[in-house]
Amino acid sequence: MAEKTLLKAINEALSQEMERDDSVVVYGEDAGYEGGVFRVTAGLQERFGKQRVFDTPIAEAAILGSAVGMAANGLRPVPEIQFSGFMFPGYNQIAVHMARMHNRSRGKYKMPITIRMPYGGGVRALEHHSESLETLFAHLPGLKVVIPSTPYDAKGLLTSAIRDDDPVVFMEGKRIYRAFKQEVPDDAYTVPLGKANIVQKGKDITVVAWGPILHEAKKAIDSLKDEDFSVELIDLRTISPIDTDTIIESVKKTGRFLVAHEAVKTLGIGSELISRVNEEAFFHLEAQPTRVSGHDITVPLPRGEHHHIIDSGRIAHEIKRVATFE
């Protein structure tokens, strides 16, 4: 066991799954020789050869469309989209084929594809490099969506995703790629898909977050430690399908609910979580379920980005408001 960054943990999962199963192939723009613009796939081509780890032309429709074909013909592709903001040309293939091929073929063609993509803001990047687009994937039946917040989860969740027979969109918060390290086992292990994680137990309010924002939520909760309420923090981990049970059980206990996400407000995952809380825990609520999120605006370029991306301060403000509401 050693301390590893989220990036290293992902690289390790890819490497070990390629070792374990020779049907796993890894490819994408600059993902082969260079090992990706973030170096997530570094060393893989050297180790597994150019046939299993390769650079592609700039063509997201072909990257994801070919994954559908490869999956139909016995491979387990793990394509990389260089930045989530560039998935749109490939979204067609996800929406019209990948997510529904299993259903269409009445189970004949499984789609064991894992699409990796860095996402999210906070790194002062160019346009289209800062969006949080998880809703666009979660809205497609047949597709799973996973977002890890820690190196440990990243390795275990990615391993599960690659072994899973359904297509999974695996979104990597680029601002936490190298932000911190954590003890991560050297051997392969899995963290189950579809299962949220209670990060911190508490009695008075349930807070749900994922990816980089989970760490903002933690900071927010730390800043509130002198208040006379306690917070239960849940890392959603799998955005689709949602682990409703863990959340509802928590809200039934605390009676208060807050969801924090970086994505824009309207139809963000927060909308879905609040609907479920209303449907299944309505009579336990002591305050209105609340979301703190990005605004319904185009993500600003770096000089204005701080107005959009929620930070621990905004989350703490809302936690306090909801927790003390009478």
């Binding site: 723009e29 600059d30 020789y33 260079e34 613009v37 650079d55 032309p57 700039i58 063509a59 429709a61 072909a62 903001g85 560039f86 749109f88 040309p89 002062r124 990047a125 160019l126 346009e127 289209h128 490099h129 407000k265 605004h295 319904d296 605006i297 185009t298 600003p300 370029l301 770096p302 000089r303 204005g304 980005e305 107005h307 959009h308 301060g313 905004r314 403000h317």
Partner: protein
Amino acid sequence: MILDSYDPLKQEMFNVIDDNGKVVNKDYEPDIDNETLINMYKTMQLARIADVKALQYQRQGRMLTFAPVKGQEGAQVGPMAAAEDDDWLVPSFREMAAMLYKGVPLKQLYLYWYGNEQGSKFEQNVMPVNVPIGSQINHAAGIAMASSIRGKNQVAISFIGDGGTSHGEFHEGMNFAGVYDAPMVTIIQNNQYAISTPRQMQSKSETLAQKAISYGIPGIQVDGNDPLAMYAATKEALNRARAGKGPTLIEAVTYRQGPHTTSDDPSIYRSEEEVKNWQKKDPISRFRKYISNKKLWNKEKDEALQDEYKDFVKETFKAVEKYPTPTVDEVFDYTYAEMPKTIKAQKEAYKAYLKEREGE
């Protein structure tokens, strides 16, 4: 006719001057007035100095990520000098020299790369920097079609990289414009790399110019570090477009001397020696020799120009650093032409929160 004389399938490449600025293709040397020649040179120099300076500022932590143009100035300034003021420039993201030639102030370009949307608003017929690869080709097709439909005389000139030609949007846009004989000229800047991926990895086509054949339009491979050849080929393409004969595809063979962006480390994927070899074909020094041979330019003028531009670039960047950061109103107010009530409510709630936070 230049476009008929160079066959992309035979890898025939059009040039006018050699690496020493000597005319080697007298028949096709374009007749450009002196003022324009000087303007072309000056613009390339300004782009070069602004580019090198921006890289320094970035390394000092004062500038954000940007895509350097160094080495590609000739492939951009040649076409823009051949165009009319009213023609459109539809850039990708590495077209600083083209944009400067069009009259976009350096301050705007710096402001954009400094992370402020105000830097994307131009008075000229110039579209904003376009990051999603390939997508601009369809905009150019639409701009060209609008020019035809509205009876204007404008041509849309778009730029794309060698990597961009792999994209579906490139193909769709070229094919689309071809169908309608839209007045469009597409310049592929084949700078040999798409980030780390070499040109040969993008396509099995021997040249990128030959892709034109499948669209039924002319395609030509041009020495992209020869501004005169770029001028001459583009001029012919523009004339065709204005005569209603449709789009042309020009592959400018050039080289990105700098990193892909400031986040890139080119030493991973290419050798110093390769860079040095291409520097011998540098478009600015070739063009300087050409205008010097014509007695339009000399060492004294060059030194004076460099000094002038260095100061100008420094002052411009200082002004950009002092530019006010976007306000809350600014980040909300341009989302829609007319602000919907719910967005306004979000803005007010956020402002109230900021006020409360200030008071805490």
